[in-house]
């Protein structure tokens, strides 16, 4: 009885939901990768330009801070519209998956930079000095000591960022990029297909649980104390 209902449900909605899941993955992973590529170096720069650090620079540090704070204080849905012309300029379109990547990156990269900053600041200053005293280059110290030692915190920070990112993709439907959040909203809310809404929500919940567990697990693996 129930089984036949489930089969009927997936017959009808399977494709839509599958498609939406793929879109969420696609939007999430592409923007994540680009955001890390931008956010990690920014986080490192934030740390290194602090007073007393090797690239100490009041102005760069101040500017970066302000910029990150400004972007971080704008809700994604507003950022999405605010950036329309910019998005169009960068990728040639402001709709679809392609059109939503730019705002997602602008939204996530500063967040990642901030998270990276706090993860990197946890690294004991003494160990950086120990490596400096051994005659090791600053760029090697950054990569092989600072980033390496911060890996468990970096993974946890990324987990948080991914979850925030998935939350933001729910609004991507507004520019026609689809995704699970969009399905839940369009079918569940606008067309009153409650089953579709529930299934999409369950999928989102499962997705986030899985990501959090993977993050925790990886961080624990890398952490050796």
């Amino acid at each position: 009885m129930i089984i036949s209902k489930v089969i009927a449900f997936f017959d009808k909605w399977g494709d839509v939901i599958w498609e939406a899941t793929l879109e969420t993955f696609q939007m999430g992973s592409i923007s994540l990768i680009i955001s890390v590529i931008i956010g990690l170096p920014l986080g490192i720069l934030l740390v290194l330009t602090r007073p007393g650090k090797s690239l100490e620079n009041k102005y760069i540090h101040f500017l970066l801070n302000i910029l990150i704070n400004i972007i971080r204080s704008i809700p994604f849905i507003i950022l999405l519209f605010l950036l329309l012309p910019f998005t169009k300029f960068i990728v040639g379109t402001s709709i679809g998956v392609k059109g939503v990547i730019v705002p997602l990156v602008v939204y996530t990269a500063p967040y990642i930079a901030r998270l990276m900053e706090s993860a990197l600041l946890e690294v004991n200053r003494g160990i950086l000095e120990a490596y400096e005293a051994m005659g090791i280059k600053t760029k090697d110290i950054i990569w092989h000591v600072m980033v390496r030692e911060a890996r468990p915190s970096i993974i946890l920070a990324l987990t948080i960022a991914i979850i925030g990112l998935i939350g933001a993709t729910a609004m991507a439907g507004l520019v026609g990029a689809g995704g699970l959040g969009d399905v839940a909203y369009r079918f569940g809310h606008l067309r009153y297909e409650l089953d579709v809404m529930y299934v999409s929500i369950v999928l989102l919940v499962v997705l986030i649980q899985v990501i959090q567990s993977i993050g925790n697990h990886l961080a624990a693996l890398l952490k050796k104390d």
Binding site: A130, Y131, A133, M134, I136, K137, P152
Partner: protein, 340 residues
């Protein structure tokens, strides 16, 4: 091997200037173990960090093995630092790397050929006695073992000089002893010159050849350990040395005793520390010698002792005792309370 010439270091904090080092000069000879002792805030860490330029002196020159570090390019300084090992109170190991990697990663980053690295790691882990801990992470080690890994890491670069910033201050007394023994062995067997700083006298007496006493950013006294122990000149030095010979006799008692004969401090150095000079004297002369407190400590290669004794008898006789002791090679000094 290490020469500091007129080093000054001033820190500018938001509220004030701190003169951490004031015109400090120091020379550490090749092959010796040189200790710097001082109370907290004296400027010891700042001084040792000037040697490898972790701290840039405000004024003055730093020479290591003949080359001047102040004017070096970043590249030259890195090359020079490879030959200056350093260990710290906090060990500073990578938490996320095994003992093996903690030594191997810096070797790789300083350009040691890849196939040579495992041999080096094993060689120096054996020197510090941790061959069996290669695959363990630092947090599974005791404090003493972590410091051994840090020492192996420093040695693996085959340095000429080792700087030690309070390397034993976080360790219990027994572990401290074993780390000091290890440092002495490194100095003996590899001929590595060691400059160490500490606030503990027994670190100085156990392994140092020469010592400098720091106070308020200045070196107030320096010399061979044995000379400094037997004839300290500055008040702070005396305080450090007195701390080794605790005497908790109340002044009242001492003053009472003094009415019946002098109270003297006997300092024994080297062979005289082994002789029963005082008991010989009291047999020979009409004097009762009463030991109030005393201790013999082992310096790096000589015993050193100090007794406080009361000599009861006629002044004529007690003077003879003092003469006798002096002839036996014992330093005798009368304790006076006027300055208390």
């Amino acid at each position: 091997m290490i020469q500091l010439k007129k080093i000054s270091k001033t820190f500018h904090t938001k509220t004030k200037k701190v003169h951490a080092l004031k015109n400090v000069s120091l020379e550490v000879k090749k092959g010796e173990i040189f200790g710097v002792i001082g109370y907290s805030g004296a400027g010891k860490s700042t001084l040792i960090r000037c040697v490898n330029l972790l701290e840039k002196p405000t004024n003055g020159e730093v020479y290591v093995n003949g080359s001047k570090l102040n004017t070096m390019s970043a590249e030259q300084l890195r090359e020079t630092r490879k030959k200056i090992g350093m260990i710290f109170q906090g060990f500073h190991l990578l938490k996320t790397a095994t003992v093996f990697d903690n030594i191997a990663i810096p070797l790789k980053l300083t350009g040691v050929p890849k196939r040579e690295i495992p041999n080096r790691v094993q060689k120096y882990l054996a020197v510090v006695g941790l061959e069996d801990k290669q695959d363990v992470y630092p947090d599974q080690l005791s404090g003493g073992q972590k410091q051994r890994v840090a020492i192996a890491r420093a040695l693996s670069h085959e340095p000429e000089v080792l700087l030690s910033d309070e390397a034993t201050s976080a360790l219990d007394p027994e572990t401290t002893e074993s780390i000091l023994d290890l440092l002495a062995k490194i100095n003996r067997e590899f001929g590595i010159t060691i400059l160490l700083i500490t606030h503990e006298m027994h670190v100085i007496q156990k392994i140092c050849d020469r010592v400098a006493v720091m106070e308020n950013g200045e070196i107030i006294e320096q010399g061979n350990v044995i000379d400094l122990y037997s004839e300290p000149k500055q008040a702070t030095t005396k305080k450090f040395i007195n701390s080794l010979f605790p005497s908790d006799l109340p002044d009242e008692t001492l003053k009472e005793l003094q009415k019946r004969g002098p109270i003297i401090t006997l300092t024994f150095v080297g062979s005289s520390a082994g002789k029963p000079a005082l008991s010989m004297a009291s047999k020979k002369f009409d004097v009762h010698a009463n030991i109030l407190s005393g201790n013999i400590i082992q310096l790096k290669d000589k015993p050193f002792g100090r007794l406080i004794a009361h000599l009861e008898g006629e002044p004529e006789e007690t003077n003879k005792v003092r003469q006798f002791l002096a002839n036996e090679g014992v330093q005798v000094e009368e304790v006076s309370f006027d300055d208390n």
